[in-house]
Structures are given as structure tokens and as C-alpha cells.
């Protein structure tokens, strides 16, 4: 999804790297070698990855909220069990990713603190509300579909721990997309009211899903360095086009229409051409002014604060047990 982080400038003091080491590093990347945690790496590579992986982790964790909203109201036990498993997977994905980021020398606590303080970003898509059950279908089908499109090339990203986390995540995520599409299919084959609900959800989620791939290539200068380091393998526009080409026929199969009057199939290229994306909306949402930004962060903060006593108690219990074992050992000697 979640490579929106690769479109921004990396902050921090400029560091002049040893040109010889830099050349050897680039040679390893060009030879498709994986970079591992203790290997030498340019500071900018490390910072880019920390920001990218942590924003990806934050997106997974915040991404639990819009769907969690519907767990208690799922229309059947089958749907409820699936949604619960999906949301649990997202928590797990967040954990794999925080662990991958930690191999770069930051702690999970630091990263999480940045999220809660509103200093770190997460995918813009999770700042939209889930108004009806059809939104759960659309999230699985479109949002997870877009995420998979983005994440499959990340399985070959140059940083080993990130690539390994992505392999696990991609394996698990294909169920997410399929369960979403199945929800949409069921609604579209149901009553006219159910089909209208599916259409309404598609109308609201289509454009935000396209924005998930980040700004157009012409406006994203930082993509270039990430491509050279093979953190990123395809540009934003390439991935967006792949997603549109894969998704439009699926929507037509459902008997739904896309909220884009300019959408048409281009016979000569074999691609679906789409209309202009409202990048002002994207910037607004990313800057914190989407429909749910405040609500999402408030929910995460509350969960973190409400759980603080559990973390403290668990650490105190572990310390007490260690002390007791030590005392017993000494007494026995």
C-alpha cells in the first residue's frame, strides 16, 4: 500500500558517504544481492527504509480500525469469523514489519511513539469511514487488491528482512482480497437495495484506492533513488495502471459501474484509461484533514494508553519471577 513513504524527502543531516563504499554497495544492489542488517549501508538508505517500513507497519495497525468497526455487525457468523481473522492478520503484519524496521536500529516503542504523536504517516486510505457493510467488501476487494499490487514487487526489495516480511504478508493477504470480492458478489446478486449499497461503496472507494499508489511519477522526485536502490521496483503510475487493468473487469463482472465517465478500454495498448485523480484531496487527507484522521489517531492512543497497565504488570511480573528464581538458586548453592 503502502509505499507512499517513498515519495517524500528523507529528513536528517546530510551525510557524506565514502564513495568507495557507496560504489561497492550499489554493485551489490545491481547484482541483486540482498542487504542484511549488519551489512554496511548508506545512511540515506537506512533512513528511507526505516521511514518506509514503519509507515507500512503503522498502516497495518491503523488499518484494523475501519474494519474493526464492522466485526460486531457482520451479517453472519461466517462473515464475522473471516473479518476477525483478517483484522488479526493485519495486527500480525504490523508486528512483522515493526520487527523488520527494528533490524535497522530503531525500537518499536520509538516508532509507535511517532505514530501516536501524529509525527508519522500511514496510508491515506484509512482516513475514510466505513459507512455500510458493502464498505467491508470494497476494502477487501479494492484496498487489499491495491496493497497486493504494491506488495508483490516488495517481496524482491533489496533489504532482506523487509523482503522476507513481505513474502509472509503477501501469502496471507490473498485471502483478504478474495473474501472482499465474495462480499461484493453476494451483495450484487442480492436484492436491488443490496446491489445499490455495493454500487455506493464502489463510488466512494474507487478514487481513494487509486490514490493509494501515491502521486504521479511526474511529481514524485524521490522515487528515482528508491528505484536505484531497488527498494522500489515499479513506479507509482506503473502500479496504478496494473491495478486498474486488473480491477475494472472484476467490477464489470459484478455488474457495477465505476465513478469515472472517462474510463474506457484502449484497444491499441490493451490498457484501461482513467480520468484525472483529485490530488488536492489526496494532499488534504495525507496532511491530516481527511474525514477520519483525528478519530483514527484518538482510537490508537486510547488503545495504547488503556493497555499500559497490562504491559507494566507483565514486565513487573517477569522481573519478580526472575528475582525469585535467582534467590532460590543462591539459597540452593
Amino acid at each position: 500500500m503502502y509505499s507512499q513513504a517513498l515519495n517524500e524527502r528523507v529528513e536528517g543531516p546530510r551525510i557524506v558517504e565514502d564513495p568507495e563504499k557507496l560504489a561497492a554497495f550499489q554493485a551489490r544492489i545491481d547484482a541483486e544481492e540482498r542487504i542484511e542488517p549488519n551489512d554496511w549501508m548508506p545512511e540515506a538508505y537506512r533512513r528511507t527504509l526505516i521511514r518506509q517500513i514503519s509507515q507500512h507497519a503503522h498502516s497495518e495497525v491503523v488499518g484494523m480500525l475501519p474494519e474493526g468497526n464492522w466485526i460486531t455487525r457482520a451479517p453472519s457468523l461466517r462473515r464475522k469469523a473471516a473479518l476477525l481473522a483478517k483484522v488479526q492478520d493485519e495486527g500480525g503484519h504490523g508486528l512483522y514489519l515493526y520487527a523488520a524496521a527494528e533490524t535497522l536500529g530503531v525500537s518499536r516503542e520509538e516508532l509507535y511513539e511517532q505514530l501516536l504523536a501524529g509525527k508519522a504517516k500511514y496510508s491515506s486510505i484509512f482516513n475514510y469511514p466505513t459507512l455500510t457493510w458493502a464498505d467491508i467488501g470494497c476494502i477487501g476487494w479494492l484496498v487489499d487488491g491495491a496493497a497486493i499490487m504494491n506488495q508483490i514487487p516488495l517481496c524482491r526489495t533489496s533489504y532482506g528482512p523487509y523482503a522476507r516480511a513481505m513474502i509472509r504478508i503477501c501469502k496471507e493477504e490473498s485471502f483478504h482480497q478474495r473474501q472482499g470480492y465474495e462480499i461484493m458478489l453476494t451483495l450484487c446478486r442480492g436484492t436491488p437495495e443490496q446491489k445499490a449499497m455495493a454500487q455506493d461503496a464502489l463510488n466512494r472507494w474507487w478514487w481513494p484506492a487509486l490514490m493509494m499508489f501515491g502521486p504521479p511519477d511526474s511529481e514524485s522526485q524521490h522515487t528515482e533513488q528508491s528505484m536505484r536502490w531497488k527498494i522500489k521496483r515499479f513506479t507509482n503510475d506503473e502500479l496504478r495502471q496494473k491495478f486498474v487493468d486488473a480491477t475494472v473487469p472484476q467490477g464489470l463482472y459484478l455488474g457495477l459501474t465505476f465513478p469515472d465517465p472517462e474510463l474506457r478500454y484502449d484497444e491499441t495498448t490493451g490498457h484501461w484509461r482513467f480520468g484525472k485523480i483529485d490530488w488536492e484531496e489526496f494532499k488534504r487527507v495525507l496532511a491530516g484533514h481527511g474525514p477520519c484522521n483525528r478519530e483514527r489517531l484518538a482510537a490508537r492512543r486510547k488503545a495504547h494508553e488503556d493497555g499500559a497497565w497490562v504491559r507494566e504488570a507483565a514486565l513487573a511480573h517477569a522481573a519478580k519471577r526472575r528475582a525469585r528464581e535467582r534467590a532460590q538458586r543462591i539459597a540452593a548453592e
Partner: protein
């Protein structure tokens, strides 16, 4: 307020009987028991394992990637350690 940090554990999973435990990732937990529980929830949601090991990350001693040459290169020249180095007449059969 800065919170106390949870210790880090490396997680190893045996996927089937007869296979070795393999490193799959890490978890944070206050003690070994909770690390096992967290590893089970995080890494075995789809029948990935029959057995889990958790090891405090701080207990692992790793080789330095900078020593890769002196540590591992000498074996490249020791081709006599491989069976294909030795010539056995075909009449002798498979050996």
C-alpha cells in the same frame, strides 16, 4: 512518557516432524512464556508449525559480515572435500 522496553526474542519454528527449527522472525515479550504465546499468535495462524523455540535476541552471537572473506572463502579452494573430485571407473558402479 517513555515506556520501559519489552525484551526482544527470536522465533524458530519446526514446520514438520523431522525438519529442523527455522528462524521465522521475532517478537517482543516480558518473559519466555509470553514470548512463546506471542510467537504462536504471530507466526502460526495457518498451521505453520508443530514446535516453537524462542531465544532472547541478546543471547545470539553473530559473525561479522565484514569477516565473510576470511571465514568462508578458504573452502572455495578445497574442492577435494566434494565427492565429484574423485574419479571412480564406471565399471565399479554407483558409489
Amino acid at each position: 512518557m517513555a515506556e520501559a522496553k519489552m525484551p526482544l526474542w527470536e522465533v524458530f519454528i519446526r514446520s514438520r516432524t523431522g525438519l529442523a527449527h527455522r528462524h521465522v522472525g521475532s517478537v517482543h515479550a516480558p518473559d519466555a512464556e509470553m514470548a512463546l504465546q506471542a510467537a504462536r499468535d504471530t507466526y502460526t495462524r495457518r498451521g505453520e508449525g508443530l514446535s516453537i523455540w524462542v531465544v532472547p535476541s541478546a543471547a545470539i552471537t553473530a559473525s561479522d559480515p565484514a569477516d565473510k572473506g576470511p571465514l568462508f572463502e578458504p573452502t572455495a579452494s578445497k574442492i577435494y572435500r566434494h565427492p565429484s573430485f574423485y574419479e571412480i571407473p564406471e565399471e565399479v558402479g554407483h558409489m
